[in-house]
């Protein structure tokens, strides 16, 4: 081999053949190879998403229109939540690299401190993603509506609260004149999607017919996402016109005029494949984050027990750190291609 020895190397670092290719340990190099293969998987998924998006005929959902909610605060905060999630993951990546740095100084307490911070950040991210999914699946209060001309539009604005259902025709569980105040939104959306609202009258599961007492909506705006006979993609309809067209559609007594939220067959945001890619790619990434947290916990237990200190180096922390940074790296791309572009 060429060159002179610059640094001493301990026997433990040398591979079986008494040599260290690329001057790294066996474990670290294999971790890099694994990460390249995992990066190919994510790259393939994102390219497939790009493929579908580029050959789609209908309008693809726009990030700041689709993701604009915050916990406890409701709608009207475009991209704030994912920005927060991104920041949480970046910070947990920073605490991880600080744990690796502490390991290089054989500072056991430092490693434990920063790894705990990383694990907490990881749990926060997984929790945020659960909230994000919950919100994505349940959707907005308005849903996506099919208008009279066959075009489809998403709806922005403030949904007027439903106060109660006033029973006008008794069913199995409710008497005439009774005011139902429970589970209103759920019943309303179910009936609207199933075509069980005719005029202002809702028919519930048990055959009860009731008047819907609802506050007025505010600032309603329809944004057309699929061409119809009259409207085409990108058209915006506001004010009284919007309200009339929206309620004509969902109060018409016809099923499937409105879609709420998302499942694997349809979603209110855009083409069917959009929902499927969202669930698969963010789900696969979330699974990586979750396994990363578990691996971090296992390694942290090792640190607390002093296994790596006795070994003389904290390379295990470095290897789990590589995996953790990789998870952050993937999120950077998911964030751009799902939420921004």
């Amino acid at each position: 081999m060429a060159g002179h020895a610059t640094k001493e190397i301990d026997a433990a670092t040398l591979w079986g053949g008494k040599i260290s290719p690329f001057s790294t340990s066996y474990g670290k190099l294999m971790m890099w190879f694994f990460l390249v293969s995992d990066a190919l998987t994510f790259g393939g998924l994102l390219v497939a998403y790009g493929f579908t998006r580029h050959d789609a005929q209908d309008a693809w959902p726009i990030g700041e229109e689709t993701f604009n909610s915050l916990p406890f605060l409701g709608h009207g905060y475009p991209l704030m939540y994912v920005a927060l999630m991104t920041f949480i993951l970046i910070v947990s990546s920073v605490t991880m690299v600080l744990a690796v740095e502490a390991g290089h100084r054989m500072d056991k307490r430092g490693v434990v401190k920063w790894m705990i911070a990383t694990i907490i950040g990881g749990f926060f991210f997984v929790g945020s993603q659960a909230w994000e999914w919950y919100h994505f699946i349940h959707g907005s209060e308005f849903g996506k509506v099919e208008l009279a001309d066959g075009s489809q539009a998403i709806v922005k604005g403030h949904f007027g609260e439903i106060e109660n259902f006033e029973v006008i025709e008794a069913g199995h569980h409710h008497k005439k004149g009774e005011k139902i105040t429970e589970d209103l939104m759920h019943e309303f959306q179910h009936a609207a999607a199933g075509g069980h609202i005719n005029g202002g009258v809702i028919t519930l599961h048990d055959g009860t017919k009731a008047m819907i007492n609802k506050k007025a909506d505010e600032h309603m705006e329809l944004i057309v996402k699929k061409d119809g006979k009259k409207y085409s993609v990108g058209d915006r309809i506001e004010g009284k016109d919007a309200e009339k067209m929206y309620y004509d559609a969902i109060y018409g007594g016809t099923a499937n005029k409105v879609i709420y939220g998302a499942n694997l067959e349809q979603n209110e945001y855009g083409p069917q494949q959009y929902g499927q890619f969202f669930f698969f790619i963010t789900g696969f990434h979330g699974f990586h984050v979750f396994s990363g947290v578990i691996i971090n916990i296992i390694i942290m237990i090792g640190v607390v027990m002093g296994i790596y200190h006795k070994r003389g180096h904290y390379e295990m922390v470095e290897k789990t750190g590589l995996y953790w940074h990789f998870v952050d790296l993937v999120w950077v791309f998911v964030f751009t291609f799902f939420y921004l572009v």
């Binding site: 190397i9 260290s20 690329f22 001057s23 579908t52 726009i62 991209l79 740095e101």
Partner: protein, 122 residues
Amino acid sequence: MERDDIIEYSLDAHHDEEHGKKIRATIWKVTAILTAITVLEVMLGVYIKQGSGAWPFVKWSFIILTLLKAAYIVLVFMHLGDERKSLKYVILVPYILFMVYLIFICLMEALKIGNTWMTYGG
């Protein structure tokens, strides 16, 4: 004969407090850069609407900023920048070459398929 040619390698698994200070300064600097890029991206996304005249520029800014973020994470946080050149290129070059090729071929194909549907209906 005892080999004396194999000890040029090092794990770089240790450094002293003084060196650590320098490394930590770099880490905080990169943290600030990554945060600033994310804030910039979100601002662009919130204030510039898709379909507006500035959109193509914004879209490419997103992609470039994302690659910049990725470079900082891989080279600094994952310490690939501190590894040997040979390792750096073994990891990066095949991957980047393959991905550029895959992105090019798939997006071209998708646009053609989209146009075909648009032209001949479906």
